[in-house]
Point group: C2
């Protein structure tokens, strides 16, 4: 893969920061140059995904990879991950049926959402899905009723997170509650097989896993004393994608996380990893277009740059400016200035970066194409069905 | 229309606050009771929309109503508004083609988005659309090239807003820039016909319009001195919907706003109003379901209540907890407690109300239906195409 320097803003910095990843592959670059896009489109290179999978797999050793389908539920991606031997973490009946419909065996699917409709639990159980997540008493009752005897992973709450996109308190329960749920699950005839936690999304450095792993290990030892046979540790996602900040190579990152896991839990525990962003983000690049460059007043220092894609048509993760995408234009290394970046809708909330403006070429103008790098995750499926009459983000798959 | 007291939490308060609106009509109530919903659905009563249109029309007098299609682009709604004599404010080529395809005459359509692709301007012009909005030099050039001689409305920036959902600085330009654009537009051969502003969305009281109208009037007088023939004042949207706060009756609210307009601008100016939320929100009620009620720890005071609808499947306007919806359950006036309300997806950002928890019945449990009131605007079209595998919000239209 060759970096498309002719189209680049700061290619050298990208290379130095993360030598294992080219932001845009030769195949993507060639396709983009040869195509006349009439709407925002993510160009996804399946070979980049395969390379990333292999790198993660190498680093993770004997841990199993369960792709978090929500990151990008495109059938092409699911088929590619399945062919590589991957398993699947599904958030809903819709995702489970999608995987099953593409030929994935049900025992390779885990129903990882702790919030499930009773009828969806029953459906998954009927289809052969064996593993379910839970973090609440009512959920255990639902699973015991609609998937009797199923394997259950109890999700614990990890409060301390250093991730770029921390997961708040929505998922998981306290350590005390987790122990109570394990006892209840056993009493209900379920196979309480392990625990899960999630360190947050986009955990940029392995050392940021330490506190979460410590908390998980503190919980791990007590149930054994109470007679529980825990054998599965689900370390969730958190594997990062390259958004411009320096990063370790994928293999080294994954290997270091596993070293930290094995140091605490030993070698007998089956470790599940659920990369979503970390597996698919870097393989996608969005091609968008500048619709308008404006100043609210001639004295304003920052320009407003409006793209044909925004928060409601694929870039939802710019919420609170948490995920900072990298942009490339045809103006390459030309002089830049600060820009407030916004989407095309008539909604004032559809502003991408305002608190921390983005540096873009002074020569930028309406009609210019813009490449938005590492946008293969949490983009197309986040698109609205047609807010303001704009169509959802289109996808193209190469290789 | 009769209020469905049997299903209600606090019906009396709703009546007192806003006697002209029943939160749920008899037709909606009957339909909901007779239907087994298998996914979140907004039940929209077109008769309520018609009543609201007539009330707004009565209050607005000789101002014309231009429905902001983005609030709910359902064909059923567009056809109903057209039959009532309404006109249309469109944000995109997609919305324009939608209206034209339903038989709306092009002169009843205004292209109100200030951010337009050049090819979309050309398309709208070719189809007969006559009026375009602009707030930037580059946009005027695009309009002059692709819709020569078109009628242009210059949008000005109104900084001071008291709206519940203020519009930031994304749209409009400074007063000085607006004057410069009017001169440029005339020089480019465009018909610079008036100005627009937007007071923000959900402006709860007429008095909150005063500062925006003052600012607009300050701009209005100068162009005349410079030889511009301004004859159209577009006062934007801002018309509120009932979310539980006390409100004036629709006719009285609209009449008071128009009194304030006429007091400043006289009777010769053609006034355009662009209600979106204010026209359609109250006519819709979402039927959703409780998926899980949980406590993170048995000592926690607040429960977490997870619905089968969330921020990515219809309730995007809960962003920053700006719009506070009202909820009804089968438990009526039973004892309540504080709940953190969240959607069903595996995304931690999918939390609806957490800073200010919602009071819901202590008896609430998984499987309970929940009615979310006044949700006919900015819900269905905001839905994601299928984030986490959950389908977009469904719609049903009555009457």
């Amino acid at each position: 893969m060759r970096y498309a320097a002719a189209f680049a803003g700061e290619p050298a910095r990208l290379f130095d920061a993360h030598p294992s990843v080219s932001a845009v592959s030769a195949a993507q670059d060639a396709f983009i140059r040869a195509t006349d896009f009439d709407r925002p489109t993510v160009v996804f290179d399946l070979d980049m995904l395969r390379a990333k999978y292999r790198a993660l797999d190498e680093g993770l050793g004997d841990a199993t990879i369960h792709f978090a389908v929500k990151a990008n539920p495109a059938p092409e991606i699911i088929v590619a991950v399945a062919a590589l031997g991957g398993q699947f973490d599904c958030a809903s009946r819709g995702e489970i049926d999608l995987c099953l419909g593409l030929g994935v065996a049900p025992h390779r699917i885990a129903f990882g959402n702790t919030i499930k409709r009773a009828s969806d639990i029953a459906h998954a159980h009927r289809m052969g899905v064996e593993q379910f997540a839970a973090d609440a008493e009512e959920e255990l009752h639902k699973i015991a009723t609609h998937a009797p005897g199923a394997r259950v992973i109890v999700r614990m709450l990890v409060e301390a997170s250093e991730a770029d996109w921390p997961l708040s308190r929505k998922f998981g329960c306290s350590r005390r509650e987790a122990l109570r749920l394990m006892d209840l699950g056993r009493w209900l005839g379920l196979d309480v097989a392990g625990i899960s936690f999630h360190p947050g999304s986009q955990v940029r450095e392995p050392r940021m896993w330490a506190s979460a792993l410590d908390a998980a290990h503190a919980l791990w030892t007590e149930p054994a004393a109470a007679g529980h046979d825990l054998r599965i540790l689900n370390i969730g996602g958190g594997f990062p994608a390259f958004y411009g900040e320096p990063m370790l190579r994928t293999e080294a990152y994954a290997a270091e996380v596993m070293r930290m896991v094995r140091h605490r839990f030993g070698t007998d525990v089956h470790v599940m990893a659920e990369p979503g962003r970390g597996l698919v983000a870097e393989a996608g690049v969005i091609v968008a277009e500048v619709v308008l460059v404006a100043r609210k007043d001639q004295d304003d220092l920052a320009r407003w740059v409006f793209l044909d894609i925004g928060k409601f048509s694929g870039l939802a993760e710019t919420m609170d400016e948490a995920i900072r995408y990298q942009f490339e234009t045809r103006h390459g290394g030309a002089e830049t200035g600060p820009c407030i970046l916004a989407g095309p809708s008539c909604d004032s909330a559809d502003v991408l970066y305002e608190k921390r403006p983005v540096q873009l070429p002074l020569a930028l103008e309406s009609g210019d194409k813009v490449r938005i790098l590492c946008t293969g995750a949490y983009t197309s499926s986040y698109s609205s069905v047609g807010f303001n009459g704009f169509p959802p983000l289109a996808s193209v798959f190469l290789n």
